[in-house]
Amino acid sequence: MANYATNEFRSGLKVMLEGDPCVILDNEFVKPGKGQAFNRVKFRNLMSNRVWERTFKSGESLEAADVMEYDMEYLYTDGEFYHFMMTDGSFEQHGASKDAVGDTVNWLKEQEVYTVTLYNGAPLSVTAPNFVMLEVVQTDPGLKGDTATGGSKPATLTTGAVVKVPLFISEGEVLKIDTRTGEYVGRQK
């Protein structure tokens, strides 16, 4: 793989650091008027999701990480792996572990397209689209006379995720959910 020097570091660049793939969040050029130049760099470790801050002598370089993002359609789970298929016409399938899917499991719906990050060809993480449409499988009936300005109640979706919804929502309705916050946005019209 290619190498990147500190002056090429920019946010979004994926590099190898101590054996783990990391994404650069921020790169600050630090130089005292009369001193050696350094770069203070913030990374997120793509394996652990932890944020690191490291200091390098300006001009040092890091190896690029073989990390690529692809659009893939969710197919099914066999209980251990979650299977996705490339949408580029190759029909190539990838099985993502529970760790790789993480909290996105709450928003997984068959035939929906997700962003799957591959590291050395294997799924490292799965990101949901910003909004998904999911059906309510269980919620208590709302009280008569309540309006949209009233309170909220929990509703269980097909994925098992529980979200707060307005009192007028009933079972069987399809809801639009913001996957970044896990919040109800609206109903399917």
Partner: protein, 334 residues
């Protein structure tokens, strides 16, 4: 270098409001020196010699006499220091320079390869009295108050528990690995001191309140960081450089010296710097032998001088971290 820097654009990087503020700042500085009877001088930007400071790189240009194929290498100045000191050696009194200087390779965030420097010299005072003058200048252009003057050693002892003049290179390396980055090793002593200072001490120096800017002066730098200042002894008999820096809100703003007047020692320091550049694998530029001659043959006065980053001062006044927001076109749009 962030992504937005790379966007191609004909539009200015600073707002008109900031540019108007800058115009007033430059006028305010000139008014201060006019009232103080300090003469403005314009020194050469192109020179046959360059700074040989190990960590400051110069841009090169070629002079080609018309009708010939001769190419003479010239350097863009990184500071007006050498010709200003030659003026002093020739008998000039208090002088200042306000204009652009150039430093190769420094781009991103607070750094632009060309930036505006204010440099001035005062006769018959030392660097402590010069701090009063620096405070007076800043107060004349923006609300400012001093939040203290501390020795480099005091700050090091307080924050890191070591005496920077006595600690071994190994101790400084271990502290750097503990406080800055565990993989930093095999660096020069001054690199460790700079890393510890800029990571553990500098961020807390000075501030900004509703009333204005607050500055902290740091003086008595290690003798190994003397650059062009005199070396003297502190109250404990340790060798320190007669140098100060001003920090406001964690930003290095100004660097001042009680100026070295010994031509012989100046020449020796230039030669040592050249040797260090060679060792670091950096280009070795010719030093200014005219300055050495001026110090040896002229009558260089007892004086103190200071350089201040005007873009940095404007950034502090405008409450921005980014130099491109205070200059019409930053390097990536130039």
């Amino acid at each position: 270098m962030d992504k937005t820097n790379l966007e191609k654009s004909w539009q200015p990087s600073a707002s008109f409001e900031r540019l108007r503020q800058r115009s007033e700042l430059l006028r305010g500085i000139r008014n201060y020196f006019h009232a103080e009877d300090v003469m403005e001088v314009e020194t050469p930007m192109l020179s046959r010699s360059a700074t040989v400071d190990p960590h400051i790189d110069s841009f090169q240009a070629s002079f080609c006499p018309l009708g010939t194929d001769i190419q003479e290498t010239l350097y863009l100045h990184t500071s007006p220091e050498f010709p200003m000191k030659r003026l002093l050696a020739a008998g000039c009194e208090d002088i200042y320079y306000l204009g652009r200087v150039f430093r190769n390779g420094e781009a991103g965030g607070r750094h632009n390869p060309e930036f505006t420097m204010l440099e001035w010299y005062r006769l018959g005072i030392d660097h402590h009295q010069l701090m009063d003058d620096v405070t007076g200048l800043i107060r004349s252009v923006t609300p400012f108050k001093e939040a203290g003057r501390y020795s480099y050693k005091k700050l090091f002892v307080e924050k890191l528990g070591v005496d920077p003049h006595e600690a071994s290179d190994q101790e400084l390396e271990a502290l750097t690995q503990e406080h800055v980055d565990s993989s930093l090793a095999g660096l020069a002593r001054n690199d460790y001191l700079d890393l510890l200072f800029s990571n553990c001490i500098e961020p807390s120096l000075g501030g900004r309140t509703a009333e204005g800017l607050e500055g902290v002066y740091v003086y008595d730098y290690p003798a190994s960081m003397s650059a062009l200042s005199r070396i003297q002894e502190n109250s404990e008999g340790q060798k320190v450089s007669a140098r100060f820096e001003l920090f406001i809100n964690g930003v290095e703003l100004a660097n001042g010296y009680h100026e070295l007047a010994d031509g012989q020692e100046q020449q020796q320091r230039f030669e040592n710097d050249q040797a260090e550049r060679k060792e670091l694998g950096k280009p070795v530029y010719p030093y200014d032998d005219n300055l050495v001659a001026g110090l040896k043959e002229g009558s260089f006065p007892d004086c103190a001088g200071v350089a201040m980053g005007i873009d940095r001062l404007h950034m502090l006044m405008a409450q921005t971290q980014s130099i491109k927001e205070v200059i019409p076109f930053d390097f990536f749009r130039a």
